[in-house]
Amino acid sequence: MTEKKRVITRRDFIRTGSRVVMGSLMGFPFIRKAAGQTSEKSRVVLIRDQNVTAGYGSLKEEILADMLDQAVAALFGTTDSAAAWREIVKPGDIVGIKSNVWGYLPTPVPLEDALENRLLEVGVDAKSISIDDRGVRRDSVFKKANVLINVRPMRTHHWSGLGTLLKNYIMFVSAPWMYHGNACEKLGSIWQKPHIKGKTRLNILVMVTPLFHGTGPHHFSRKYTWPYGGLVVSTDPVAADATGARIMQAKRNAYFGENNPISPRPLHIEAADTKFGIGNSHPDRIELVKLGWQEDILI
């Protein structure tokens, strides 16, 4: 007998008294595990440094690279970052770094450079490394890549609620708009495709100056960014996104002075957990390690 799909409504949130967090993933009452999903907690490292930004659009490159190193060492439980990078890649690997070029808030170039440098230091051939976004399907390195590193800034999004690590892989499919249905709920399915599945060794959600609100076709105003100075790093993209989503929700509530749900609700994060078994979205199944600057951490 097939299980009928449970329809979740606003009423469910009202019933469980979790209305105040509607739009985030906290306290979601119906979370279930997808088949094959690990029962282990996902480790997520949140590292912050208040000095990483030197004004909007200007980054302290050395601080950013150091944050990255500290985060991977904490993530893999190694004594130094070099050992962590050796767990992420081997010298013979072919590595695609999936970046994001959205004009108003792209993946910071210094972070891309730091990632490339760390790969080179491990011994990965320079010709076996590519950094790309919209050209990944045509890129010869990405076509052969056995390792993917996923790095993008966190922002609100008109249709999916949030621009996330999960959403960053939409460029790996030929018809991205096919995944826009129901607030991009099925983005997790992209991660199950044979040319993607099992290849992602590291996910970095850039929250240096996240965009917590947006309107209009260009969906960007500097007014709605803030110097959070953070990176959210995990091998589990769902756990990293869910953590980032909680921070975004807290920022919106603080900024607007009332509960202001991320809208539309970012269904794709919990669906990646409950439907596609990509990772863990619920805080109970996330081990959050906080490093660095703690003030106004929002989580």
């Binding site: 799909k5 509607m22 959205w102 708009w177 129901n182």
Partner: protein, 304 residues
Amino acid sequence: MIRCLQIRAISVCLALCILSFIALLMTQNTYANSLEGLQQRLPKHVDAWTAEPQDRIFDRKTIFSYINGGAEVYKAYNMRECLSRRYTAPNRPFIILDVFDMGSSQDAFGVFTHDTDGEVIDVGQNARLRPGWLSFWKDRYFISIYAEEETKATEKALKEIAGQVAAAIPKEGTKPGILARLPLEGLQSDSIRYLHHPIVLNYHYYLSDENILSISAETEVALAAYQVGNQEARLLLVYYPEPEKAMQSQVSFLKHYLPDADSTGAALLEDGKWAAVKRKKQLLTIVLDADSRELADRLLKSVQ
């Protein structure tokens, strides 16, 4: 006989001339009302800013390459084309003018209601100004004017561009007919949203992860907030192409949202608010978050 043929030939020529003239007038009128026709009348210079030589025009497929997934909002309102013109000035932030041809004034109004925050200004048929972004609608066009940075100079330029674009659109359009069904008493006019996509509804008022009201391109939806005295509520109207669809949606709403509704279709929710549903032919009326049963009943009865 020859004279008769001559008269007939002259008559045919005259008729052809008149038809050609009418066709020419129609073509000119169509052109004048088209995005291409409007393009010729858009400002090329405003204050220190000058339009770049080439505009870009996007259709329903290529719009994704311009505004990524944000394009879904405009597609949800049946966008036909979008013209984008970029203005630059030395050492000043760039300005982008986007003219969306929505195909109908109803959808131009609808997409305008997607973002109604900001200061009301007198441009087009309704306009809003926020820091760095001005939007308005007129006829079947939705206009967005975006500045990279918000400064006094860019704000002045945004208003100037908006005024010139509004003047270049020759006529005004009508609002969606469903709005006339909204009761006037207590209506918060700034809260009105018009839509026909479930995700857009969820953007404004999260109802369900599934499309329990079967909202589609064929349905018209109006959502509005009410304040009567010190009591508040929201009203959702959904107009379906056939009564059967409205009836199915009523059943679906009762099943998934109000399984505990009484015989009148009303229920007291766990947060102390009231919700209620009523159908009349093709129109489904839903009251949400009402502070009292009396207000819910009053709104249900007031819908035209």
